[in-house]
Assembly symmetry: C2
């Protein structure tokens, strides 16, 4: 049921027409010096040679080739990455949900009513089935109860403190070590080729910003995510932003292009995701003329990570698999395309 | 009634304590190589020598001096600039209002009812008094009628086309030429010293992004502004973002720190404004410990530009003058501190 990785997610017609105007020597593809270095084995060492890796290299070569009709100036080389399941592990549950559940437990003594109120009861009892059934509304309730009611700087400290001690239940490591080595290499490779890399995640923007620079090399101002409202106020003569229990923006599905437009103000030329929540971002990126790259990470490795797609509560890839085939997005098959999964390996 | 430019907007105590740990030779202030070049006459040529210019140079010297307790790493050197009245002219009316009035005239044939409906009637008749009385609600109505109802890319084209032909009523030049040369130099000087410069304006984010890179060297992804909602949709098999007649975010007054936190995710160490709408941004920036710079552009030159502060419909500086004195923000007196006003001079 996994579609074979397409030979290339780039717009093949545009690429071929570009090649048509250049002298062709066998399968020679014009490349910038940097992309050539990469293709010769320097970049993306955790990616196995094959159609997937070549699709990435071809795309970068095409848009960085000065004088080519597919050339994109550095200022317009915007690449957007989903986070959960694309840059790091999202199973057995989103990291931010693990954080919220721990916060519910920590705050429970102040809220005796939670013992008998859903979704808090399920959170306290670790009843994942009921939690999953509570759906988006239940998640929102958990987030409001655990992510609001303090200043932004206090919340940042809570997040940092949590990451310092929390461990993934299977890998027994800090969550920030569970990022994918091939994707870290891809981020660096794109930046080395003049791209500006952004995270565009359904996760909370203030949950990610404290560590994205250290883990991904992506600074806070290049992180787009979901948010709750904040309010400016003076407290004891000091200005602060107070976090309100009110949704501001959901950066998922059709919200991703909206967030990209609002925060970045340029249309990406490359986008990377792993679930149905990323379809609209990849459509917005790739269906715009010119050579573009859409890539879907397909979780196919139960042994080294997890295997899931059409039937999972977190990171479902159902319509996205069909959309990938239809739009010629590159599908990265974790098991076959990645010779190394984690940064810590 | 104009307060004398304060000798420095930096936290004087922090600066003095920094100097205390260094050998002092007369009035020698430790400076980075770049700041030294600047102080020696290279940078900020349109700023007259004096307390205002020195306040800027001292601040940059303090935060770029490696090893100093006031040192700020480049990644954290965030500077935010208001636009209207701070980087370019805002009289006799905000440029975006001139745009909206022209759009009302262009769209009037499709809306015969506007002849008898406020604020459209006033807009069509150029009745500025009635328009001013219509207040924020009236402005919002004008914006919804003229800025929504099309795809983002169509709106971008409308903006670009308008700027190509619109002329300022007094200076008879394209609005984008009415930016302030001293502020352009300041933007460049800060960037040369490792700062990342952002625009944080009450103006529409999509009204600014088409030209900020060319005019200010500030790319679209470093522009924060007010916005209306957009909706992702597929039209004729192509994805687009459709602009809805619904307010999304007002990036003014207490909204400015909120916007800064949401879009940038870091607290600025320098902020530049000219009106009461900038007070909260400067509070958020300067009242946070460490050496910080807040600067207010005071319009004092009726001959070369305009003179206004406490009593004007656009860019009112009333409480802001008092806040500047109280918080030791630098006040740039256009008439006395700038030897050149416009880029075109």
């Amino acid at each position: 049921m996994s579609p074979k990785p397409s030979s290339s997610g780039v717009n093949r017609r545009a690429l071929l027409s570009a090649l048509a105007v250049l002298p062709v020597f066998g399968s020679f593809l014009p490349m910038s010096a940097r992309a050539q270095t990469a293709a010769s084995g320097g970049a993306l060492p955790s990616w196995n040679n094959g159609a997937t890796k070549q699709g990435i290299l071809n795309f970068v070569a095409a848009v960085t080739q000065e004088g080519s009709p597919n050339y994109v100036p550095p200022a317009e080389r915007i690449a957007t990455f989903d986070n959960d399941g694309t840059l790091w592990v999202e199973h057995p549950m989103y990291t931010q949900l693990a954080f919220a559940l721990d916060r519910v437990k920590a705050l429970a003594p102040l809220h005796p009513e939670w013992k008998n109120t859903q979704p808090f009861k399920a959170a306290l009892e670790g009843d994942m089935k009921t939690l999953a059934e509570a759906g988006e509304h239940g998640m929102a309730e958990l987030v409001m109860a655990t992510h609001a009611g303090m200043a932004t700087e206090e919340f940042q400290k809570i997040v940092i403190d949590w990451f310092a001690t929390a461990r993934h239940p299977r890998f027994k490591r800090p969550y920030t070590e569970l990022s994918y080595q091939p994707m870290i290499e891809l981020l660096a490779y794109l930046r080395a080729n003049g791209f500006k890399t952004f995270i565009v995640s359904g996760g909370g923007i203030e949950f990610m910003r404290p560590w994205t620079e250290r883990v991904y090399g992506v600074p806070p101002e290049q992180v787009v995510g979901s948010s709750i409202k904040t309010q400016f106020q003076m407290r004891d003569g000091r200005p602060e932003l107070f976090r309100l229990p009110e949704l501001n923006f959901i950066d998922d599905k059709a919200g991703k292009p909206v967030g990209i437009n609002e925060f970045i103000g340029r249309r990406p030329i490359a986008a990377f995701g792993n679930s149905d929540g990323d379809i609209e971002m990849l459509q917005w990126t790739t269906m715009s003329g010119g050579v573009r790259l859409g890539l879907i990470v397909h979780h196919t490795d139960a042994e080294r990570e997890y295997a899931y797609d059409r039937d999972t509560p977190f990171g479902r890839l159902d319509k996205g698999l069909d959309a990938a085939a239809m739009n010629k997005w590159v599908v990265a098959d974790m098991k076959n395309d990645w010779n190394r999964i984690f940064v810590f390996e």
